[in-house]
Symmetry: C2
Subunit: 468 residues, 2 copies
């Protein structure tokens, strides 16, 4: 019995051990070095990002802006000279936000800045607020102990370069409402999952565990959470009114919009780079994720104009409805199940437009030398090779769970959660020079991955279940 | 004829020349040095500011919050142990804001963040936007040339330590609507008079010239002004809808709330220090001007607890309705016309809670030596004596126009207009340590001015008309 895991490990590792190492030819490295300089001086990424955020603006999945964004993306791929442009349908339940407000009741009456969480039902609730410092303490509340009350998780997200503070904050956003319901609460509010101190609350999707009746669930801006905490310290019987006008409304079919630059010698194999086309309804989705669309469209366009096209095709995917549950990513993985091995490697840019500082990849052992070569070509951009530090981002996750190789080009996220999912996510927050560095990094990676002799190990045998 | 001005100058200067120089006794300087250290370690200013912003919150003149603020101020003066506490009525027309929205119409449809200017009428206007880079260019527009259109002044305010960028920005806010009406416009929008890049628009009062029919007038947040400018560059026929629900609604009587610490030997003479109690309805009026209330209440309280009380009384005024036209300041000047010479000197803190970096005063020549002594006592706080650089602030202006001497304790305003008149003006923007420096500076100035032997020249003979 104890030998079984060892045998399995041997079986899995044998083919890799037998395989020739993947290598990047020197000619490709030379071209990539030129492309890197070209990209740093090019403003295509900026222009695409400006165009999407200005001409379309907000584009929440299922909204009128979603349809305009799909039309925009098709037109933009064509304008940029992609060889093939097409769409693939993505169907999902439609959630609508029509309005929201909150206020303190009684002698300290005042308005609170609040935003409904995506997936919340509508409704107006007045009740005493009970403050919890974290998710764990709310989860420990006695069933029924919050009957008629409003649960408030007052957890302040940590600022980190790699955005790791979002782990706990997003668990509170996703799991807080169900914990509140189990304790009997009539509504749920949380301190925004954000690191700023502006009066713009951070939205984002939540979910309700099976069998629970959803309750109105919303986030307060950080200054409003401060204020509510102070008022509760003065008077623990403080009551608020939360009024949300939002909810589910049927189904909607949007599109993953795809543009491809045809490879020179292995056109049926692809390197897939991506951003997501949808945004939340607040802000114009500049860092989340017009930047990702701008970076990847620009990288592919620069590669198309290179003196020597790479062997493989470059596929840029503008994913539909990332925000409400990776719907575009799951649709892509389902639609392309049988083509997994034709996808050499995938990378998505969905962490803003900060400087790219780190590089990592999830590839088979025989491809690690090629990854080291790519890391060397990225180093002049100030990008550090950080083996074991990165992970695939958002929409490409379902395909990586199916076994696809992935790369991580890590943006500096120190300020990302100042803006994420707020009204403040607008074009002015992006530095065009830093965005050009992002484009340069994606251009170098994509060109080299598409030029590699040998694969990166995409295979159904690498399929796995996500760890959470 | 040419001798007349010279004779007049002689007449005016003779009494001053004959007067003994005003001096601060050494004992007072010693006490002030102790008070300075006490104030730096004291948190009264912070606690008062926290209390007003938390327990009352927004308190626009004429609102329900205004009445609560008056009650709060009386109670707070009493709680702090002031010897006398009273109120004086201030009557003004009441302006109400009920709501506002704006959106781009047509193929680039999207919401714009907008806020009605104080004094604007309500109304909904749809029209083509005509952009002007500054007030002058709008003033030059041909009468009738903007018929049915919406005038947009896209002027970006400059960031300055002394806040001098506000001069032009506030002229645009005050004068833009009338210029727009003269050109025939149906509505007026402006880039916010603010230096931030957040989606919170800056309100503030406007006015309409005699004989003009007011039009809906509003400010866009800076990112929204950027967006509108980009859309106009793409398509000069861009149309927007502006919808304001606001307007005048009768009269309201609020109160100047006054607390006094009785002087030891000349109790009928006062040094008046002040902040204003009202705020705009957005934000909780932390930097504008709960800080001014906190600083001046704390300074007087610290002086009351000093081992040696100063000769003169310390009068702290929490002025009503500064924001909509210095109503509290004018009411005070009218009510105390006959007591001008009893007001030794006045100072108001109405420029936030940044570090106090400069000191200046408007006094008679015979008092300039005393001002230099006070400057010396302020120097250890990092406050520079800047003769000719300062000016009286807000509500004390009417009384200085009537001839009262004044002092300026200048706050660093580099970041002030990031927050001024927005939702973002909340307590978290104030650094308690810097606020204690502010309190220390006011304490030192006030104690020494109240201890001076001789006056600062307050006199009806110094009456003058404001320069604007």
């Amino acid at each position: 019995m104890r030998l079984a895991p060892l045998l399995l490990a041997l079986l899995v590792s044998l083919p890799a051990a037998a395989q020739q190492p993947t290598r990047i030819p020197q000619a490709a490295l030379d071209t990539a070095a030129q492309l890197r300089e070209t990209a740093l001086a090019d403003d295509t990424g900026w222009k695409v990002t400006e165009s999407l955020t200005t001409e379309v603006g907000p584009r929440m999945a299922g909204s009128e802006g979603d349809a305009r964004a799909v039309a925009w993306a098709k037109a933009k791929f064509e304008e940029l000279g992609f060889d093939r442009v097409w769409t693939e349908p993505v169907t999902f339940p439609k959630w609508e936000r029509r309005g929201q407000s909150a206020e303190v009741l009684g002698p300290h009456s005042q308005k609170l800045v609040v935003i409904a969480l995506g997936g919340s039902p509508g409704g107006t609730v007045e009740g005493q607020v009970v403050r919890f410092p974290d998710l764990e303490s709310l989860e420990k509340a006695e069933p029924g102990s919050l009957k008629g009350k409003i649960a408030f998780i007052d957890y302040r997200m940590e600022r980190k370069q790699d955005g790791s503070g979002y782990g706990m904050a997003s668990r509170i956003r996703g799991g807080g409402p169900s914990a509140a319901i189990r304790a009997g609460a009539a509504a749920y509010v949380m301190r925004s999952a954000g690191t700023d101190n502006h009066r713009v609350a951070h939205t984002g999707g939540t979910r309700f565990a099976e069998g629970l009746t959803p309750i109105p669930s919303a986030a307060l801006s950080n200054p409003d959470a401060d204020q509510l905490a102070r008022l509760l310290a003065l008077d623990p019987s403080t009551r608020i009114r939360v009024s949300l006008d939002c909810g589910w409304n049927g189904e909607y079919t949007s599109q993953n919009v795809i543009g491809e630059i045809t490879g020179a010698s292995r056109p049926d194999e692809v390197v897939l780079i991506a951003g997501h086309l949808d945004s939340w309804d607040v802000g114009t989705g500049a860092i989340d994720d017009a930047a990702g669309i701008g970076i990847t469209m620009a990288a592919a366009k620069l590669i198309a104009a290179a003196p020597q096209r790479p062997a493989r095709s470059i596929r840029v995917v503008a994913f539909a409805n990332e925000e409400q549950g990776l719907h575009g990513g799951f649709a892509y993985a389902r639609a392309h199940t049988d083509e997994l091995v034709k996808h050499a490697i995938l990378a998505e840019s969905d962490f803003g437009a900060g400087r790219i500082y780190g590089f990592d990849a999830g590839v088979a052992d025989h491809a690690k030398g090629a990854i080291e070569q790519i890391a060397g070509a990225l180093a002049p951009l100030g990008v550090e090779w950080m083996p074991g530090q990165g992970s695939a981002e958002s929409d490409i996750l379902p395909y990586t769970w199916a076994g696809a190789a992935w790369a991580w080009l890590g943006h500096d996220g120190t300020d990302y959660f100042d803006l994420h999912h707020t009204e403040d996510d607008t074009l002015d927050k992006i530095d065009p020079k830093v965005l050009a560095q992002n484009v340069a990094a994606y251009t170098v990676f994509t060109y080299l991955a598409a030029s590699a002799e040998g694969d990166f190990g995409s295979s159904p045998e690498r399929a796995h279940t996500p760890s959470w």
